[in-house]
């Protein structure tokens, strides 16, 4: 079957199987910023945006994305680069494996709640596991990033 979707602003038609999930579909088409982690909706690493909302791509059926807009980090490079600066400044980065998923959730948060306080940031990022940083530095980086957007 065919999937018609707008991926990172470009209309695409992709060949998919009925049980495929977006994680595999996107990686098979070279959107390799989408990472495979737990593969069971628990770690946040595979997060992408569908219609602007963060979702775990490991569990999102590709067929269900018919006609929708999909965003990966490849589609928000400016945002990701700016956020990376704040992550570097706060020491919120080590192996970087969780960064693409977090970057997309922060992008969604900046649209949904640009005035998010620290509690809101923490709540919004719950579900993104990071084994390097202990989270505090990431939250501080996101806080500064959001302040910088004002």
């Amino acid at each position: 079957m065919k999937l018609h979707a707008t991926i990172n602003g470009r209309k695409r038609v992709l060949e998919i199987q009925p049980g495929d999930v977006l994680l595999d579909t996107l990686r098979d088409h070279d959107f390799i910023s989408v990472r495979r982690g737990c593969d069971s909706t628990s770690c946040g690493v595979c997060t992408i945006l569908v219609e602007g909302k963060p979702v775990p791509s490991c569990t999102y059926l590709s067929a269900r994305a018919e006609g929708k807009t999909i965003t990966t980090v490849e589609g928000v490079q400016d945002h990701a680069a700016r956020l990376a600066g704040f992550f570097g400044g706060e020491g919120a980065d080590q192996c970087g494996f969780c960064n693409p998923g977090i970057a997309l959730s922060v992008y969604a948060l900046s649209n949904e709640a640009p005035d998010a306080d620290e509690d809101t940031i923490r709540h919004y990022l719950t579900g993104h596991l990071c084994r390097c940083t202990g989270y505090h530095s990431q939250v501080q980086a996101v806080k500064k990033y959001l302040e910088g957007l004002k």
């Binding site: 009925p18 909706t41 946040g44 997060t47 775990p56 569990t59 269900r64 990022l125 993104h128």
Partner: protein
């Protein structure tokens, strides 16, 4: 789960007709837990184009469409207003925003999952389920039925009564399923208590409720007795998260605490 064919339903009648055609066809809710299933589906039927994702309040009832994502429940101002917002409060503690953007209330209810944090609050709020063929049935009755339903859940309906509520999820880590979840509501002088993730699915603690609802005044002695009944009369079990004895103890502690908090207006 393996899926051999994907069908986006054009109407509820279309979905029902496809569902009836094969015992290996099923409605896909949000799909959040499908990786936990080893089932092979001849056909996955998708309801996402049918507008079943709204929360509407009319004639004293809040109707939550079966395809409403948990994130919409978490952020709903309508649901935050009833029973101290226990349903949004419970939803907000389920994994992360991403999962809650796909997991649906219909999937949580029809799946009758033992780990569900929503069944307890829904039982305590006396939710009723609107099915496409059968019409309305109480959630409590639906949960007692064995096996899978061959009907389609259209909405979860909650009476929007004035009342207060308490919800507690006891868990080991932020993203884990509950070791036990405890819900208490009080409305029109009637108290309801539900215990979920026992690890079996949520049930009403009928004996404990009888103690409270048969008493003129929910004083300290009555609350103590009700908490003891909740721990004694509800069946708990062991799994890798906790023992039966620990769950029993938690039930006593949190039912007691929740009842005191409701009596003192501290929720």
């Amino acid at each position: 789960m393996k899926i051999q064919n994907f069908h986006k339903a054009s109407s509820l009648a279309d979905a029902y007709e496809r569902l009836e055609r094969s015992s290996d066809a099923a409605i896909i809710g949000g799909g959040a837990w499908m990786k936990f299933s080893s089932r092979t589906l001849e056909e996955a039927i998708d309801l996402s184009g049918l507008g079943l994702d709204a929360i509407d309040e009319r004639d004293g009832v809040v109707a939550i469409g079966s395809m409403t994502p948990l994130r919409d429940i978490e952020t709903s101002d309508v649901l935050k207003r009833i029973f101290n917002g226990i349903l949004p409060h419970a939803a907000a503690q389920i994994v992360g925003v991403g999962l809650r953007n796909i997991a649906t209330i219909g999937g949580s209810v029809v799946g009758k999952y033992g780990f569900s944090d929503l069944l307890g609050p829904l039982l305590c709020m006396d939710a009723r389920l609107e099915f496409f063929k059968e019409g309305e049935v109480s959630l409590a009755e639906f949960l007692e039925r064995k096996g899978r339903t061959d009907d389609i859940l259209v909405s979860v309906n909650i009476p929007s009564k004035a009342g207060c509520g308490y919800f507690k999820k006891v868990r080991k880590t932020a993203l884990d399923f509950a070791v036990l979840n405890i819900t208490i509501t009080k409305t029109d002088g009637q108290t309801r208590i539900a215990l979920g993730s026992r690890p079996a699915r949520a049930v009403l603690a009928m004996d404990a409720m009888a103690v409270l609802n048969g008493s003129v005044d929910n004083d300290e002695t009555t609350i103590e007795k009700a908490a003891e009944k909740a721990a004694e009369a509800v069946r708990f079990g062991d799994n890798h998260r906790a023992s039966e004895a620990y769950r029993k103890h938690l039930a006593y502690v949190y039912v007691r605490r929740g009842l005191f908090m409701l009596e003192e207006g501290r929720t």
